[in-house]
């Protein structure tokens, strides 16, 4: 297979936009020919695309390279390396047994982490980088370029921000599957419903059954689930056509498995069956690369408008104001049923910040208009949690003290202030998150929105829960009013201040105000509190 019309990498970097598009289109044809690209052409393709991206975003490559591969270490390197080193030898690539290769892998991963501080290092990146290095004959500079292109351009936000883009995409995937393979989708939904019957009572808020597998597929870009030749073919398409290739590949793989999956009658059988099926997916005889690529392109021309519609819809919808979106899509009737509980549940699970809001909606799924105010039970649970935390602090401070006068299940009286303060400022947590201080611009936007106000609210909440007589709290209804108010105000201010799902950081550890978030987390504000009815 020759790639006659592919420009040299250097040419691609310098060529004008028009020529580049033309070349890209011809390559798009090239990759779906039987047999696909030769390894040389693949190298050229990937590096050309990467260089073009770097040119497009006006990244000063010389500076970037020097900074990223600087042999002198930066202060944050130690933490990054600690995490990276854990994964170097487990990439699934044969060459990672070679010490020298592992050092190269480490350098590329560290370079990327230095370059993209909002992601740093995320498990899974080592698998992708290994494949890139493998294809690029261990050229670390080229590998870094391609990694930057892949992560920044093809998979934006996939690995940052606690994988929230991935979370959205999983919801999108579920809805696309509903259109793509309604039979399979319905079957899986039924499997899940039978395993959790009380649908109306918020019983079933586990993500769709497929997610366990689809998440892995997406995060490793099929490296761990498809035979290598097929994986590389998918990557070629991915590099050219963008992340929609992931969706198409995922949909097609599930359709391939659907004959088997439709036979299972319970969720447990499904999981068991997937054990066997996953092995079969790795079989080159079952997954024929040529056919797979052909099918990916047969879905239709890129891009599918449906995908961006769905993405937009799910990105905009914040779980707190899920009341019917004004820009309800004109087409697709099933889109109107988008406010299914499945969605609620999924977002609930991913958006821990909204845990309390969601828990109230969980208990009453059908009435989205319901007030956000938490009830006494929640307050009590928070109080209980605070007590638990206190106990945990105690054990930290006196691990050696083995006397068991204070049985964990009994309610021990709340301790004095300093103990709680210890608890709220957990140094390890903050330290671990230091390297993530560089929040993305998206998070910054919400950071601007008066974090002091949250802090004040939290402080009020804290005072309410921590007043000396607070051990009466669960019983005393008079106390409830004031605490309720402050939580209420906190929640209202939060929901008012955070208009878009995509504009805040769902995980407390790196959110708009780290301290508030950490404090709130310790208070249990961010954990879904589900009360039985």
């Amino acid at each position: 297979m020759t790639v006659g019309n592919a420009p040299e990498p250097s040419l691609a970097a310098g060529c004008v936009e028009e020529n580049f598009q033309e070349w890209k289109e011809s390559m798009s044809n090239e990759v779906r020919l039987p047999g696909g690209l030769s390894s040389g052409s693949r190298q050229k393709l990937w590096i050309s695309l990467a260089k073009n991206y770097i040119r497009e975003v006006h990244l000063d490559w010389d500076k970037t390279r020097q900074f990223a591969f600087n042999p002198e270490s930066y202060p944050e390197d130690e933490q990054l390396n600690n995490q990276i080193v854990k994964d170097l030898h487990r990439t699934g690539c044969n060459w990672s047994t070679n010490e020298q290769n592992r050092i190269i892998l480490q350098r590329v991963l560290l370079a990327f982490a230095r370059y993209n501080k909002s992601i740093g290092y995320c498990q899974g990146l080592h698998i992708l980088t290994s494949v890139i290095l493998d294809v690029m004959d261990m050229n670390e500079e080229h590998a870094l370029m391609i990694l930057i292109y892949l992560i920044d351009s093809i998979l934006p936000d996939f690995f940052s921000n606690n994988l929230h883009a991935l979370a959205i995409d999983m919801t999108v995937f579920d809805h696309w599957l509903k259109v793509f393979n309604p039979q399979l989708h319905l079957h899986l939904k039924n499997l899940q419903s039978t395993s959790a019957l009380n649908d109306d009572e918020g019983g079933n808020y586990e993500p769709p059954l497929l997610n366990v597998f689809t998440i892995q597929w997406f995060l490793t870009l099929f490296v761990t689930c498809l035979p290598r030749p097929a994986t590389l073919r998918v990557w070629d398409a991915l590099m050219i056509e963008g992340n929609e290739v992931l969706f198409r590949t995922g949909l097609l793989l599930w359709s391939k498995l659907s004959i088997a999956v439709l036979k299972v009658t319970t969720a447990d059988q499904f999981y068991s069956a997937m054990g066997h099926l996953s092995v079969q997916l790795l079989d080159e005889k079952i997954i024929v690369a040529d056919n797979l690529i052909q099918e990916i392109y047969n879905v239709g021309p890129f891009p599918t408008p449906f995908l961006s519609e769905l993405r937009q819809k799910f990105s905009i919808q914040a779980p707190s104001n899920r009341t019917s979106p004004t820009n309800q899509s004109k087409s697709k009737t099933d889109l109107k049923r988008i406010k299914t509980k499945l969605l609620d549940e999924e977002i609930v699970n991913f958006v821990s910040c909204f845990a309390i809001l969601s828990s109230s909606s969980l208990r009453n799924n059908r009435s989205v208009e319901k007030s956000n105010s938490p009830d006494v039970n929640q307050l009590r649970q928070q109080y209980k949690k605070l007590q638990q935390r206190n106990k945990q602090v105690q054990i930290i401070s006196q691990t050696s003290n083995t006397q068991r006068q204070c049985a964990p299940d009994s309610i021990c009286s709340i301790s004095a202030g300093p103990l709680v303060n210890h608890l709220l400022v957990k140094p390890t947590d903050i330290k671990r998150n230091q390297l993530r201080k560089n929040v993305s611009s998206k998070s910054l936007s919400s950071k601007d929105q008066q974090p002091e106000e949250y802090e004040k609210e939290i402080q009020q909440l804290l005072t309410c829960l921590n007043v000396p007589q607070s051990n009466k709290l669960p019983q005393a209804d008079s106390k409830k009013t004031s605490s309720d108010n402050s939580i209420d105000r906190f929640l209202i201010s939060r929901s008012a201040q955070i208009p878009k799902y995509s504009s805040f950081n769902p995980f407390p550890s790196r959110s708009f105000n780290e301290n508030v978030a950490v404090n709130g987390y310790k208070l249990g504000l961010y954990s879904p509190v589900v009360t039985s009815r």
Binding site: R90, L166, Y205, E206, T224, A260, H276, V279, Q388, T428
Partner: protein, 222 residues
């Protein structure tokens, strides 16, 4: 193979802990009886199954959920706590930091699982590397005692106390079940009755391999 489809109960357990404490190795050692020095890191959530006998004649199928340890994956793994009846809190006995994080794993699990009742087991791993030990058995024991949970130290490499760990938590759950402190309830997948006691029709394994492809592959039968 028959065993896989004949059991009295099914317990769903989730395995959590920092990355590289040995969660996947422990599961591999237990489920496959092999030790792999460096399994690929779990990305997202993974899944294993094995049947144990909690007392003569009572078989329990353990559905084991393996989770990614890196902090940012918690947003994904968090969703899988709720339907678990048991939580294995794993730390590495040769890494003190991983032990200090057990509290936060415990808190998170408790917060997610409530209001359902769950059983916790604290598991220290890698005791074959005694010379590198950083967390003493006493420390682990004290922590477990304080929280009133069970405790065991294991080595996946030498498969030391691996079986015991899982049998231990399975028995504990079974005991609570028989005492009525845990119930099989609809809407919750933590504990379910098996086909053996519920419906004998389901005890036949379904053939899956043949359906993927016309040409029979037969990887799961033999």
């Amino acid at each position: 193979m028959d065993n896989m489809y004949s059991y009295d109960y099914q317990f769903r357990l989730i395995v959590v802990g920092d990355s590289t404490v040995g969660k996947s190795s422990l599961l591999r050692s237990f489920c496959d009886g092999v030790f792999s020095q460096d399994p690929d890191p779990t990305v997202g959530v993974d899944f294993n199954v094995r049947i144990v006998e909690v007392k003569p004649g009572v078989k329990v199928k353990l559905q084991l959920w393996d989770t990614a340890g890196q902090e940012r994956f918690r947003s994904i793994t968090r969703a899988y706590y709720r339907n678990s009846v048991g939580v294995l809190l794993i730390y590495d006995t040769t890494n003190y930091v991983s032990f200090t994080h057990v509290t936060s794993w415990l808190n998170e699990a408790r917060a997610q699982i409530q209001p359902y009742h769950s059983v916790f087991l604290l598991v220290g791993t890698k005791i074959d590397r005694e010379s590198e030990r950083q967390v003493t058995t006493e420390e682990g024991k004290a922590f477990a005692d304080f929280h009133n949970i069970s405790f065991i130290e294991t080595s996946s490499k030498s498969s030391l106390y691996v079986q015991e760990a899982f049998t231990m938590i399975a028995r504990e759950i079974y005991d609570m079940l028989t005492e009525g402190r845990i119930h099989v309830q609809s809407g919750w997948d933590g504990v379910k009755t098996g086909p053996k006691s519920a419906n004998s029709n389901q005890s036949q394994p379904i053939e899956i391999a043949q359906n993927v492809q016309p040409r029979r592959n037969g990887c799961c039968s033999s």
